[in-house]
Symmetry: C2
Subunit: 303 residues, 2 copies
């Protein structure tokens, strides 16, 4: 499959590299890593086995890229105003667009720009980060769940899923994209914001009983917001939260992406992870006081 990766941070580089390694025709829009990858290729250090790509099709501008069958969007959501100019040059009538971005609102924005039928969304449970230019570290996890923005289980979603599985990325196609988006928020809402705000890693927050309790309370709020959204089936809050906490304990001293964004002086993905979920919950009459408070604290400490 001919694929464009837009937003080649740690997530885009890792999945793109796995797809190329498996024989797909992958084209990367590169910024920070372009010169290093042009000179030395792309090095992946992965718990599933290190590998190096000698030849990478990297571009400085979307206008230089070919049209493709599939666009994978890994852009930070605070850069969503660039989606139109970055994706338009890549499209044929059949091109599908899969956003693996964080939080809510990304499929809606892509659907407004390019029409609902093209759009798929996915959630990635990936621990990865970039090292020096041209190097990506894959630390743990990595499975993807994806589905159609219009709902239902399509053959297209199953084909993309099969392709990821051939590339050593465990992937599942699901019928209810909205549910998996909210499930991911059960992790993202507490850990991204609390780690960014306090400067503490996930294990430090879990080791301290009051903040561990706070994480559980915030997870319960996300579940309450989720289960008001007409999902195909409700999230089993207590069991799901316990499972996520156990998973997180296995990740050690992890720094969520928002914590790294703050440390490196980048904007935070506040709208996608806090603003839009709070708005959707509020529209259903659900008050989420701790999440609203976390959102306020993150916002007032921006810039």
């Amino acid at each position: 499959m001919k694929i464009a990766i837009i937003g080649a941070g740690a997530l885009g580089l890792y999945y793109g590299a796995r797809l190329q390694q498996a024989g797909e025709d992958v084209h990367f829009l590169l910024r920070r890593d372009r010169e290093a990858i042009r000179q030395r290729g792309l090095q992946v250090y992965s718990i599933d086995g290190d590998f190096h790509l000698d030849q990478v099709q990297g571009y400085a501008s979307a206008d230089e890229m070919p049209t493709v069958d599939l666009v994978i969007v890994g852009l930070k959501t605070f850069a969503n105003s660039q989606l139109k100019s970055l994706i338009t040059p890549l499209l044929t009538e059949q091109t599908a667009i899969l956003t693996l971005q964080n939080g809510l609102g990304n499929e809606e924005r892509l659907a407004q720009l390019f029409g609902r039928p093209r759009i798929l969304g996915g959630v990635a449970f990936l621990c990865s980060n970039r090292g020096e230019p041209g190097v990506v570290h894959h630390l743990s996890q990595g499975p993807i769940r994806l589905g159609e923005f219009c709902g239902g289980l399509s053959s297209r979603a199953e084909e993309i899923s099969a392709m990821f599985n051939r590339a050593r990325v465990h992937c599942t196609a699901v019928a209810d994209l909205k549910k998996i988006r909210w499930e991911k928020l059960v992790w993202n809402v507490p850990f991204n914001g609390l780690c960014a705000l306090t400067g503490k890693t996930t294990d430090q927050l879990l080791a301290h009983p009051p903040s561990r309790t706070l994480i559980e309370e915030i997870m319960a709020e996300v579940v309450a917001g989720a289960n008001a959204q007409e999902l195909t089936s409700p999230i089993d809050g207590a069991a799901f939260a316990a499972q996520l906490i156990k998973l997180t304990e296995g990740m050690g001293a992890y720094q969520p992406s928002m914590m790294i964004d703050r440390e490196q002086g980048r904007p935070l993905e506040l709208e996608a992870i806090y603003g839009i979920p709070l708005q959707h919950a509020g529209e259903q009459g659900i008050d989420l006081p701790r999440i609203a408070m976390l959102h306020s604290l993150l916002a007032v400490t921006e810039g």
Copy 2:
């Protein structure tokens, strides 16, 4: 009156200096400022008029101090384990003890150590800080309300109040100490913690609509906790909060004491301002989610 000031930070130095200026016999237990005050006296820069005390009765140890009629306690509450050794040498059978410390629990601790009848408590609405050693800045406000730990309006409380008024410190004796303690918390709980956590001054938090809303929500939680405590009359939450916010806007870019404590690497007064109020509210079945969250966030970022 013969007075000992225990805990001569900005508050103890300022009130002690005003009392000495008015002719009272004041004895200061000094730490940081002792050598500077011994050499150059105590300089007060005050919006109510600057003044200098050439001779100050300062001591390095409570054991060197005389017994007094009144002990005024301005110690940080995280140092409360020192109360017994610092106060015992100062007491006659008649000595009264007035704590102007922050939050809840201080009168109870003093009562356990020295008996309930001696104990008065007061809340100070003072904006002051220490400059270089031997210098204290009085920025705005300064009134004190005080009352008996055992309740009711005593002639002793009225005498102490009259003494403060003669010393240019507006002071009122009240019958319901518990109520004024909780009223002070309506300011301390939001501003101390939020400023310490975010590193933002009071005016910055009030200028940002989401954090301004959060301040109002936290004030409403404190009022809910207060009004469950069998006060002589309930706090009128909305009007009182509006009045405090207006007052705070007049204070400009103010740094609450907890923010300064954090910046200077001192412990925070978490038990007095958060832990004990949350416990008292919980005992009445009142859940204060935002205050509990703020407490957790402050605790996990300690040390």
